[in-house]
């Protein structure tokens, strides 16, 4: 105790009523998860046709740990030739063994993947945190178990597809090109690969260049699970590799998760083709907090809505709309809660907020932090210490913002929350809907009827009531407006991978 008292404390509780004494209560010893059992290779090749093959131009790129800036491993850069090879392998598997297989056997392969993922869950979680910077608590308790759950759910659909769409005969599409982002690397892979395989397709998947590790570990798992060669192909690389997949003449479908800007480019490059596509794009989720809500529970929900995974969440609740008469109280409580968040080593089990995924994203978020101040917002950041190396950003609040501010309108994809107030429910709905996005929104109230009324007025694909950032394989996910086209998850997620005849 005496030691902590001598420490300089800069934080002063924002209210005389505050009982929280952060200076002496919130000391944690380091509790790092051991990575001793995780074997990371020096470099990874491409996974094509059931084999690990060298990239045709023999080029590899580095992947760094964003919390230390140290090199983790190297991944192969797939160029046009490699992508072509992968698509051919996928086509061959689709025409042959995979389509000949009866649906229940197909399902069993997918079940196998689910089970093996559960068996190897811990090493996948550690790899995810090392490569991507997310706290181990999240990768261990959310990303990996959910990824396994998606495979388990869709495995069961393989032999039941004819019950999903009344009056229609479902058919597989063929070869699906899939491009996934860096915020939930393995989970997004699962969202893409599980339904695609269940519907009888084969895939060529490209993970994000900063987070390819768990995808390559997944390739090894696919091999161990004994899937026919070419059913799953994984090619690593940056945007250009993705463009090769999108523009390849022999892919039947493109599934993309990422930014709205890139989504528009993809939609545009598919112009004139009959390829199917699903796009899971950006968002600017509103959290509507009514005066009758249980405030402490709501504050926890808001913290989870925006600071979960460093705010690298397409559906993040990045705009708080709080009813005017409780606004001061809520902001005070939020600031108090912010001070308790621990920013630091992703592998430490105490860590709440890990590393920003890359230097590029770190710069981008910082640009928005400056912009917010320039636009006249008041900024509040917690006073916690952050590691010297690596990319870290303290949880941030912007108050005194208006609807037209860029920090309110644009997706920041970082731990940054804007706070606005409202008087009536209609005003809240109006503000919530007033962006080009429509991915998700949250409602906090004690009144069930209000949840339904406000929820139905929100133009967004997901509505969370008294909770946020919950995911489940049975629950369809996807956006309205510029947040994307199509749904992933649940029964509705199947139609993205089927021709309905």
């Amino acid at each position: 105790m005496s030691e902590t008292k001598t420490k300089e404390t800069t934080y002063k509780p924002t209210s005389p009523n505050s009982k929280l004494d952060f200076a002496s209560l919130w000391e944690y010893s380091a509790a790092p998860e051991s990575s001793a059992n995780l074997e990371i290779k020096e470099k990874y090749d491409l996974f094509i046709g059931g084999k690990f093959v060298k990239p045709s131009k023999d080029r590899y790129f580095k992947s760094v740990n964003p919390s230390s800036n140290e090199e983790v491993t190297q991944f192969a850069e797939a160029t046009q030739k490699d992508v072509d090879k992968a698509v051919k392998a996928a086509r061959k598997a689709f025409k042959g063994e995979w389509s000949d297989l009866n649906p229940s056997s197909r399902g069993k392969y997918i079940y196998r993947i689910a089970r093996m993922l559960q068996e190897r869950a811990r090493e996948f979680a550690i790899a995810e945190s090392i490569d991507g910077g997310k706290p181990i608590r999240e990768s261990r308790d959310v990303d990996i178990p959910l990824a396994a759950a998606y495979f388990f759910y869709y495995a069961g659909w393989a032999d039941k597809l004819e019950y999903a769409f009344p009056g229609k005969k479902p058919e597989a599409l063929g070869v699906c090109g899939q491009i996934i982002p860096w915020n939930f690397p393995l989970l997004m892979l699962a969202w893409k690969i599980a339904p695609a395989l269940a519907c009888g397709n084969t895939v060529v998947l490209k993970p994000a260049e900063t987070t390819s590790l768990t995808a390559m570990m997944f390739a090894e798992l696919v091999k161990d699970a004994g899937l026919p060669d070419g059913v799953v192909n994984i090619v690593t690389g940056a945007g250009q590799t993705g463009a090769e997949i999108v523009n390849h003449k022999d892919t039947d479908k493109i599934a993309f998760t990422g930014s709205t800007n890139v989504g528009k480019i993809i939609q545009k490059s598919l112009a004139g083709t009959d390829k199917k596509y699903t796009l899971e794009l950006g968002g600017k989720g509103a959290l509507i907090l009514f005066e009758d809500a249980p405030i402490d529970q709501a504050v926890e929900g808001i913290i989870n809505a925006i600071y979960f995974n460093q705010g690298h969440v397409c559906c993040a609740g990045s705009r708080l709309l709080v009813q005017e008469n409780i606004a001061d109280k809520v902001i005070m409580k939020l600031k108090d809660r912010l001070e308790t968040l621990i920013v630091g080593d992703p592998l430490d089990k105490n860590t709440d907020i890990g590393a920003i995924n890359s230097k590029e994203q770190f710069d981008r978020v910082n640009t928005y932090l400056e912009l917010g101040v320039e636009e006249g917002a008041e900024v509040y950041q917690s006073k916690c210490s952050v590691p010297e190396n690596g990319y870290f950003i303290r949880p941030t609040l912007f108050t005194n913002v208006s609807q037209s501010n860029r920090v309110v309108q644009e997706e920041i994809f970082g731990p940054v929350l804007t706070v606005q107030s409202f008087r009536t429910a209609d005003e809240a709905i109006e503000k919530a809907n007033n962006t080009p996005f429509g991915l998700a929104g949250g409602v906090w109230t004690d009144k069930g009827s209000k949840i339904f009324k406000v929820g139905s007025a929100l133009r967004s694909g997901v509505v969370w009531a008294n909770t946020y950032n919950k995911f489940d394989p049975t629950s369809p996910f996807g956006g309205y407006k510029e947040s994307g086209v199509g749904r992933e998850g649940g029964l509705h997620g199947l139609s993205a991978y089927l021709n309905l005849k």
Binding site: G263, V462, S475, H492
Partner: protein
């Protein structure tokens, strides 16, 4: 035959529940199957399209929040009104080459199509929505909600049945729309607008413009407050690319169907309604 001089109809557009002329003052001539002059049709421009989008957007909130039962009755009412005006449509279809028998069949099928979709308004939600058994204490359900404002390039060669077949599923699902009528045969579309206008369909839910398609395609595809675009004709590659490219500016849902025969079974389906729906999933808390 009396020697009375017939009072001819001026064909205008249908926007926001009224019948304005094109703001541009431009027109184009419409001919019958013999090549003789029939009427002047409005040659609409970007400004007319913009006005129509405003009307469609303004009508969206009200129309999409009508009850399913009410929407069903209104679609049914359109069918009733069409029966009433059968003679007018027989005449107009006759002018462009339909035999009396063909014209009647076209009208019958159009009316039946309205009744078909009237019946779907309160059923598609039950067939295509879902309750999802999530592994947490939530009541999780997915419902369909209309995509919003839809721009429609109506079939060129089926000026009545084709027109009705593309409008009905869109409005049955609670959307509002701006329709470009068949360029060569625009007159039945304006008569259909008269039907709509007398059948409790709120103004702005269906807006119908006439004009030259090649001049209008760009606006139908590019407007930032249009959420989806539909076409059912086989169109040339260049136009197809253009529509897709412009649509990508605001992630419009491009719905392409290739339907030449509007009598065939698959030309009417609840999936046609679902094409203009978004799935919304709600996580509702469960607890004491």
């Amino acid at each position: 035959m009396s020697d009375r001089i017939e009072v001819q109809k001026t064909y205008k557009t249908y926007v926001g529940g009224s019948f304005p002329r094109s703001e541009s003052g431009h027109y184009y001539k419409v001919f019958d199957s013999e090549g003789d002059f029939l009427a002047n049709a409005c040659r609409c421009t970007r400004k007319d399209f913009r006005d129509a989008v405003l009307a469609a957007r303004a009508a969206f909130k009200g129309w999409s929040s009508r009850t399913a039962y009410n929407k069903g009755q209104i679609l049914y009412r359109i069918g009733e009104m069409m029966e009433n005006r059968r003679d007018q449509f027989v005449k107009e279809l006759g002018q462009i080459g339909f035999t009396k028998e063909e014209a009647n069949a076209d009208i019958n099928a159009s009316i039946d199509r309205l009744i078909y979709y009237a019946g779907w308004t309160d059923k598609y939600q039950q067939v295509f929505g879902s309750v999802n058994p999530v592994a947490s204490a939530h009541f999780n359900f997915s419902i369909l909600e209309p995509t919003g404002v839809v721009s429609v390039l109506a079939p060129e060669n089926s000026p009545l049945l084709g027109l009705v077949s593309v409008i009905a599923p869109i409005i049955a699902g609670g959307n509002t729309c701006i329709v470009h009528a068949s360029e060569q045969y625009p007159l039945p579309s304006i008569s259909f607008a008269e039907v709509l206008n007398s059948s409790d369909v709120p103004g702005g839910v269906v807006n119908i413009l006439t004009g030259i398609r090649s001049e209008l395609v760009e606006h139908f595809s590019s407007h930032m407050d249009v959420n989806s675009i539909l076409y059912t004709d086989k169109i040339d590659k260049e136009t197809k690319v253009k529509i897709d490219e412009l649509a990508s500016n605001n992630i419009k849902r491009v719905v392409k169907k290739n339907i030449t025969d509007w009598y065939e079974k698959d030309s009417a389906s609840p999936y046609f309604v679902v094409d203009f729906q978004e799935t919304k999933t709600t996580w509702h808390p469960v607890g004491f």
